[in-house]
Amino acid sequence: MKRFLGLFRYLKGKTYLVVLSLVFALFAVGAKLAIPYLTGVCIDSIRQGEMKIGPYLWAILATLIVGAFARYFFTYFVSISGETIVKKMREALYEKLMHAPVSYFDSRKEGDLLLLFTNDIDTVRTGLVSGSASFFEGAVQILATIGLMIYLNWVLALVVVFLTPLSIVVSRLISKANAKSFRAQAANMAALSGQSNETIANLQTVQSYGIETIRKQDFHAKAKAVQGAQFKAVFASAWINPSSRLVNNLIYGAVVMMGCYLLFEQPAFLGRAFTVGYLSSFLTYAYQYMAPFNEVADASGDILFALSSFARYEETMQGPLDNDDGLVLTGEQIDGFEAKDLHFGYTSEREVLSGISFSIGRGQTVALVGTTGCGKTTLINLLMRFYDPSSGTITVDGTSLQDIPKADLRRYYGMVLQQPILFHGTIAENIAFAKPDSSLQEIQEAAALARADRLIEKLPQGYDTPVSAAHLSSGEKQLICLARVLLSAPEVVLLDEATSNIDLRTEIALSGGFDTLLKGKTAIVVAHRLSTIVGSDLILVMDHGQIVEQGNFTDLMERGGFFAKLYASQFQ
């Protein structure tokens, strides 16, 4: 309940919407129930030969107008409240994540976070907002109906109330049986989907080896299993509607019989006489009686489901914020980096960097070399301040990186990561990501420098092709990312295996563009390719979180140490 009330925070100033919709719900239910009662009164009047039912008919007309308007505003306000909440929640989540530390993303599954944006927030809307509304409406209707029935005739009301559990028992039994069949169906469908996924991904292999028949047989066998399971599941759920209708019809029949008995006998303990009009009202109530029960049952399922979504959301919202308490602004340029005894681990158990020190001068090109897992990418993470060292410092011009506001530091940087990231939008927008106000000509020049121009020109809409429609390979994406950095022409360039999926010749062709870019700039490059390493001013050779050798290519080869061995194993 406490959690539920947490929702109101996202209504900000629109709480009146909720109050209004509840009021309208009361009116809507009231009208719905008043009309059968008024109808009963009319029928009794007519039966007694009283033809002047005009006032009653006007009353019904007024009720139905009020009811119709109340129902419209009830539904509409509930929906609007839902949208208001959803919008606030989504934007709050987006902003929250934007200000979360990078480590937060690294420690979570991408899919889970993404589900928050879509499924979880949408579930909150359908469950907590619409669900609660129909729960409220249904509950009010049930209580009011019972109240009215007791008022009309408590004996008959008791008959109806006592028969209700019957339907609950029946639906329980059915849904229990259903759950099992649905699980079986889901498992079989998953197996079939895995099989077809393979066929689709390996279609070339299937066709070139002519194994269509084998795949077909396998598919048919799995589809047969689905067929069997699906029949069971569908048939199991097909009991629900007829059974609840059966129960409803039985209640209806019982009301008819009991009503007749009361009409004939008029038992004295009832006090008031039972009339045909009452019977008519009762019959309508009995007919409408089951619907709100189903509504409430559905809604409570939705609400429970949504509460867990909301809990996940709230947990994320309570997640950590990125610390950015730097105050010292940098000057016009950065004169180089100085690292002293850096220690760092993503978890406290395992240190990834243990005592790294180096000094990078302005305008130097530095290559980070080492086997997988030696800490190269981690070092880039620290330089970018995606993470901060657990001890030791990196300084620029004598100021620790941690004392500089992140945004101020990062305006000098341009980076390309191993995993090329393109955002939705066009190719041109992606190249201009760092400088959104670039002209098309600037974008094209950058693309040409990155050797991405030819591949872009082949796309159906050239630079205006949406990324989603471009079907780029990872090498091609890397070229776009390189163009992005070339366009922004930063002071410090960080490349983490930025060309790992680009073939060598293209990489060579690219180097011209990079020479232009890197002139006078500081570059720190994680590379596995010889060509990148050979030309750098300084090679930092890393192993197990430490710098084991440093120097230029000739020095290191002459030394015949770790680097020379690494070189031999990778390139010969």
């Binding site: 469908m189 066929t199 067929q227 010749r505």
Partner: protein, 575 residues
């Protein structure tokens, strides 16, 4: 061929099922008449000879009995519907699967693999579900509505007219809703997809956003998107919220009409009290049926969307088809297998993907193909295997235009290892043999050649070691070696290796290559980005930007092809 073609088999069941539903509806429509009989026979003051309690209880008993009868008959429909849903679902999937296997992999790439997978999964399911919903639920509503109307007219013509008018207006409102709603919801879904893409961009690209200080800009863009979503959603709710109040209002207007008629005609036309109670019952029933109908119709639109997708997929033409030439003469070493004459391939962009291809591949030749990313190497191979056909120029295979032969003949002469995939869930043996009977010795020889024997033997169950989906329980290098072993095992006229050794280290690759090239008389196409991998070939084609920029052996290319020489310089010379 469309999505409903496989349904024809079940026509009888689809048509019979609603009849049983009809019986249930008749049972329900009959109930108000019994109530009317009770009220008019027992409680009509004007009736000179009222019936007793026994009669009333008897009638009530009939009402109870009808409930059971209706239930029994409707369950027959439910059974038939479930049967058809499952059986038709199976046939539909089989049809889709057949079509999938007949399409070119490139067509599937263009269509979208995810989308194709969804066709066999959620779309086929939605359509099967739609059919059974139609059989068991959707017919009920019209039956009940029409039945109630007929009953109302039978009781009293004027009352019938009143009720018919109200129902007609309700049906009209629902009809407008059902027509407009799907496209509106579709738009909302698109907005939601956009939001989710933005969320995904943030989650995946958080480093880039921070790296380029783009936080505030992205937040502003997201707020704008989110606000747009809200606007679209609000417009929908404003529209959909009308449905309930309208039906509520008109049904109750009809009720007022009935009561008015009752009061007016009590003496003249004889609309009895029992009739009025019965009419009110019928009205409530008809409304419930109509509402149910609109709810279900909403679900059906999902099935219809799936049907459209399936129809579109089944309508994809089989672009690559067999030609008339069934028999092909066996080829001698030195005869031309493939010849390209100014072949060109274009996907419709500004530049063709491949152009001016002129080359010959002779039986027994070892051809090297080298080129950068996007140079067109893999697309060239797709032309050889006829996953694509040229848009200009010509390719001949064994002397005839490649399109004139059968796909089976062409493809059974080629064994190819591609860049991705190629392995299936199943044992290593099954993955190697692919249904053909190879001996243990042959398999082991192939594994030896591909340098895969050691890791396969390291499994306790050896060749019977199970692979998971796509062979995901192997490393990249292990997968490549198994695929190469498969190629060696099947030993076809032409073997193609498309960057098939990229995950192997230099030493292993050299050994593997040795095994591949060891068989004399084989035609081999070896595609790579490494000069060292192709330098031993009889002839090397250098691809660059969709064209062949160099052709010859290693030595002549070093002299005559700058692209080749540069690549060589960068990869090898500095050693």
């Amino acid at each position: 061929m469309n999505a409903f073609t496989p349904l024809k088999k079940y026509r009888a069941k689809v048509l019979i099922a609603p009849l049983f539903k009809l019986i249930e509806c008749l049972c329900e429509i009959a109930v108000p008449f019994f109530v009317r009989a009770i009220i008019d026979s027992c409680f009509d003051a004007a009736n000179p000879d009222p019936k007793d309690l026994g009669f009333a209880l008897g009638m009530g008993g009939v009402v109870l009995l009808l409930a059971f009868v209706g239930f029994a008959f409707t369950m027959i429909t439910q059974y038939l519907a479930a049967r058809v849903a499952a059986d038709y679902g199976y046939d539909l999937k089989a049809t889709l699967h057949d079509h999938l296997l007949a399409l070119s992999p490139k067509q599937i790439d263009a269509y979208g693999k995810e989308k194709a997978l969804n066709l066999l999964g959620s779309d086929a399911f939605a359509l099967g579900n739609g059919v059974q919903h139609f059989m068991r639920l959707l017919v009920r509503a019209p039956f009940l509505t029409i039945g109630c109307l007929a009953a109302a007219f039978f009781i009293n013509v004027y009352a019938g007219i009143v009720i018919a008018t109200a129902l007609l207006i309700c049906a009209l409102a629902l009809g407008i809703y059902m027509k407009k709603a799907p496209e509106k919801y579709q738009r909302l879904q698109e907005e939601l997809d956009r939001l989710s893409t933005s969320g995904g961009d943030l989650i995946r690209g958080v480093r880039v956003i921070h790296g380029f200080n783009a936080e505030e800009r992205e937040i502003a863009a997201f707020s704008k998107q989110s606000d747009h979503y809200r606007k679209v959603a609000t417009a929908i709710w404003r529209f959909t919220s009308f449905v309930n109040p309208i039906t509520f209002a008109f049904i109750n207007l009809a009720l007022i009409g009935v009561l008015f008629l009752g009061s007016y005609s009590f003496s003249s036309t004889g609309l009895s009290v029992g009739s009025m109670v019965a009419l009110i019952s019928l009205l409530t029933q008809a409304l419930a049926a109509l509402l149910q109908f609109s709810l279900l119709a909403n679900n059906l639109t999902k099935a219809i969307a799936s049907k459209h997708r399936i129809d579109a997929f089944l309508a994809l033409p089989l672009l690559i088809q067999d030609g008339p030439i069934q028999e092909e003469a066996p080829m001698e070493v030195g005869q031309t297998l493939f010849a390209f004459h100014d072949a060109e391939l274009s996907f419709g962009g500004d530049r063709p993907v491949l152009s001016h291809l002129n080359l010959e591949i002779k039986k027994g030749e070892r051809i090297g193909i080298i080129g950068g990313t996007g140079a067109g190497k893999s697309t060239f191979l797709a032309l050889l295997c006829r996953y694509l056909d040229v848009t200009h120029g010509e390719i001949t295979f064994k002397g005839h235009p490649i399109q004139d032969g059968t796909l089976a003949n062409l493809r059974s002469s080629i064994a190819m290892v591609g860049q991705q995939g190629g392995l299936f869930q199943g044992s290593i043996r099954d993955n190697l043999c692919l249904g053909l009977p190879f001996s243990e010795t042959e398999i082991n020889a192939a594994l030896e050649g591909a340098q895969a024997a050691s890791f396969v033997q390291a499994y306790v169950d050896g060749l019977d070691h199970p692979l998971t989906e796509m062979g995901n329980n192997l490393s990249g290098g292990q997968r490549q070696r198994l695929l190469i072993a498969r190629n060696l095992l099947h030993h076809r006229e032409i073997s193609i290796y498309d960057d098939a050794t990229s995950a192997l280290d230099y030493a292993t690759e050299a050994k593997v290559r040795q095994a591949i090239f060891a068989r004399s008389g084989d035609t081999i196409l070896f595609v790579s980005q490494r000069v060292t991998s192709v330098m031993g070939c009889d002839r090397i084609y250098v691809f660059d930007n969709g064209e062949i920029v160099g052709e010859g052996d290693h030595e002549s290319l070093l002299k005559g092809c700058p692209v080749y020489a540069e690549t060589y310089q960068a990869q090898v010379a500095r050693r």
